[in-house]
C-alpha cells in the first residue's frame, strides 16, 4: 500500500526550535515508604519544545497523571527537576512556583473547569486580569481568541449554556491566553463525542503549530495521533516513544516500493 507523498507537515512538527518550554530531568515520585513504598514515576526525562505537541499514553497506574501533576508544579517530585521556561521550579519557593504556574502554564482538564459564574469571554480574560492587564484589554484579547476559533457567538454565554466541545475550546483558549506557552491537558477529549473531540484536538494542534508547547495525557490512540510525538509509559518509566517525524516517514512507511509509480499523486489535496 502506498500513500501520497504529502506536502511536508506544518511548519513545526518535530523540528525542535529553540529551548524547551518544559524539561523534566530524571523525575521520580515515590509515595509512602518502606514496605508500602510505591514508585509512581521512576526517573522520567522529557523535553517539550515550542511548536510541539506530545501525547502521553499508558495503562492506568503507569504514571501519566503524576507526570502531568509534577510538570505543572502541582505536586513535588521526590527527586529530579522540573524546568519551565528555563526555570527550575524547585529553586523558586512556593510563591514563585505559584507565579510561574499562573504566568506560564495553562491547564485543560477532562471536565473543562470553567468558572460557572463567568461568561466564555470572562473566563478567558480572567488569567490576563490576574496578570495585571486592564479589564478592557483582557476582554479585547479574549474576544480576539474567540474570534480566531470562530466562537464569537458564545462570548457572552455562561458555561452551562455551552456544549461540551465549546467549553473545552474555551478552556484551551484560556490556557494559552497572553504569553503562556505551555499547555498541560489531562484527557481533554474524555467526555466528548468523537467528532467534537477531534475538533478540540485540531485546535490544540493549531495552537501548538503557532508556537505553544503541549503535553496531553490520553488513552485514545486516535487523539494521540494528532501529536508530534507519542510517549509510552509503563510502571512509571518511559518504555518507548515515537520519534518526531516529517513527511519522509510517509515514504518510509511501506510506500518505498511504489514511490516511483505513485509519486505523482497530488490526490491528497
Amino acid at each position: 500500500m502506498s500513500l501520497p507523498a504529502a506536502t511536508p507537515p506544518p511548519p513545526s512538527p518535530g523540528t525542535p526550535a529553540g529551548d524547551p518550554v518544559l524539561e523534566l530531568r530524571a523525575l521520580t515520585r515515590t509515595h509512602g515508604s518502606g514496605i508500602a513504598e510505591v514508585h509512581a514515576l521512576r526517573g522520567i526525562s522529557l523535553s517539550v519544545y515550542p511548536g510541539e505537541l506530545v501525547a502521553v499514553m499508558g495503562p492506568s497506574g503507569s504514571g501519566k497523571s503524576t507526570l502531568l501533576t509534577l510538570a505543572g508544579g502541582l505536586d513535588n517530585a521526590t527527586s529530579g527537576q522540573v524546568v519551565i521556561e528555563g526555570q527550575d521550579i524547585a529553586s523558586l519557593g512556593r510563591k514563585g512556583v505559584a507565579a510561574l504556574r499562573r504566568r506560564s502554564v495553562g491547564y485543560v482538564f477532562q471536565d473543562y473547569n470553567l468558572i460557572p459564574a463567568l461568561t466564555a469571554a470572562e473566563n478567558i480574560a480572567l488569567p490576563r486580569e490576574l496578570d495585571g492587564v486592564s479589564v478592557r484589554k483582557a476582554r479585547k484579547e479574549a474576544l480576539a481568541a474567540l474570534a480566531e476559533m470562530k466562537l464569537t457567538e458564545i462570548a457572552d454565554r455562561f458555561p452551562d449554556e455551552m456544549s461540551g466541545g465549546q467549553q473545552q475550546r474555551v478552556a484551551i483558549a484560556r490556557a494559552l491566553v497572553g504569553d503562556r506557552r505551555l499547555v498541560l491537558a489531562d484527557e481533554p477529549t474524555g467526555a466528548l463525542d468523537s467528532e467534537t473531540g477531534e475538533a478540540v484536538l485540531a485546535l490544540l494542534r493549531t495552537r501548538c503549530d503557532q508556537g505553544a508547547a503541549g503535553v496531553m495525557v490520553t488513552h485514545e490512540p486516535r487523539y494521540a495521533a494528532w501529536a508530534d510525538r507519542v510517549v509510552f509509559l509503563r510502571d512509571g518509566s518511559i518504555v518507548d516513544q515515537t520519534l518526531t517525524t516529517g513527511a519522509e516517514s510517509l515514504l518510509a512507511a511501506g510506500a518505498t516500493g511504489a514511490a516511483g509509480t505513485s509519486g505523482s499523486a497530488g490526490a491528497a489535496k
Binding site: A225, D240, A247
Partner: protein, 207 residues
C-alpha cells in the same frame, strides 16, 4: 480489493479509456492502493468477456473507450447492495504473531506488543497529518470527499489495532496476576512478566 467493481462504478459516469480509469481510481482513493495500467486493461478484458463492458469507439486522441452495459450496471447495483464479506477474515499476520508469542521461549510478548503499538501509532500520526491537511479546506469535490473517507478508514483501522494491543497487554497482566494468586489456575501465559509474577514464591504443585 475489487478493482473490477471500482472500474464499473467509474464507467457508470460515462465511457472512459484505460489510463483515465487508473487516474480516476487513484484520485478517489488518494492512490492508497495504486493500480498499474496493465491491471486496468486485464480487468477491462475480463469485464468485456463477462459482458459487463463493451468497447465503444475512440476519443479524438485515438484512445479506445469502454462503456458499461446493462449487465454491468446490474452487477454494480448488486455490489453496492451487498455487504462486504467478513465471515472468512483474511489471515492477519499480527494476530498470528501474538498467538505464537504466547509462551514462546525467549520472547517477551509485551515487547512484541509494544513494538507493534509504536509502529501502529506512528502510522496513525502520519495518516492524521494527511487528514489534517485534507481538512484545512472544506472538501471541494467528490474525489476529495472520497479520499477523506479512505484516509479516515486507515485511521480507524489502525486505532482498532492499537486498542486491541492495549487490551491484549492488560489481559495478559490480569491473567498473570490470576495465575499468581490462584494455585489451581492454569499456568497462563507464563512468558509475560506480569508485575504479580514475581510476588509469589509459591512452589505448590500445578495441576
Amino acid at each position: 480489493m475489487s478493482i473490477r467493481h471500482g472500474l464499473l462504478a467509474l464507467l457508470e459516469r460515462g465511457p472512459r479509456y484505460g489510463s483515465q480509469l487508473r487516474t480516476e481510481f487513484e484520485s478517489r482513493t488518494g492512490s492508497t492502493w495504486p493500480l498499474n495500467v496493465g491491471q486496468v486493461y486485464t480487468t477491462l478484458g475480463r469485464l468485456e468477456r463477462d459482458g459487463m463492458v463493451v468497447q465503444e469507439g475512440a476519443d479524438e486522441a485515438g484512445h479506445d473507450l469502454y462503456a458499461i452495459t446493462d449487465d454491468g450496471r446490474a452487477e454494480l447495483r448488486s455490489w453496492f447492495g451487498t455487504p462486504v464479506d467478513r465471515t472468512s477474515p483474511p489471515r492477519d499476520e499480527l494476530a498470528i504473531k501474538l498467538a505464537m508469542a504466547v509462551g514462546a521461549p525467549g520472547v517477551d510478548i509485551r515487547d512484541v506488543i509494544q513494538s507493534q503499538r509504536h509502529h501502529t501509532l506512528k502510522a496513525m500520526q502520519d495518516y492524521t497529518r494527511l487528514k489534517a491537511q485534507a481538512l484545512t479546506d472544506v472538501p471541494a469535490n467528490r474525489d476529495e470527499v472520497a479520499w477523506l473517507l479512505v484516509v479516515e478508514q486507515l485511521i480507524f483501522q489502525a486505532e482498532a489495532e492499537a486498542r486491541w494491543l492495549d487490551h491484549c497487554e492488560s489481559r495478559l497482566v490480569r491473567l498473570a496476576e490470576a495465575a499468581a494468586t490462584d494455585p489451581s489456575a492454569e499456568p497462563g501465559p507464563a512468558a509475560t512478566r506480569g508485575p504479580a509474577r514475581s510476588l509469589t514464591g509459591r512452589t505448590k504443585a500445578r495441576r
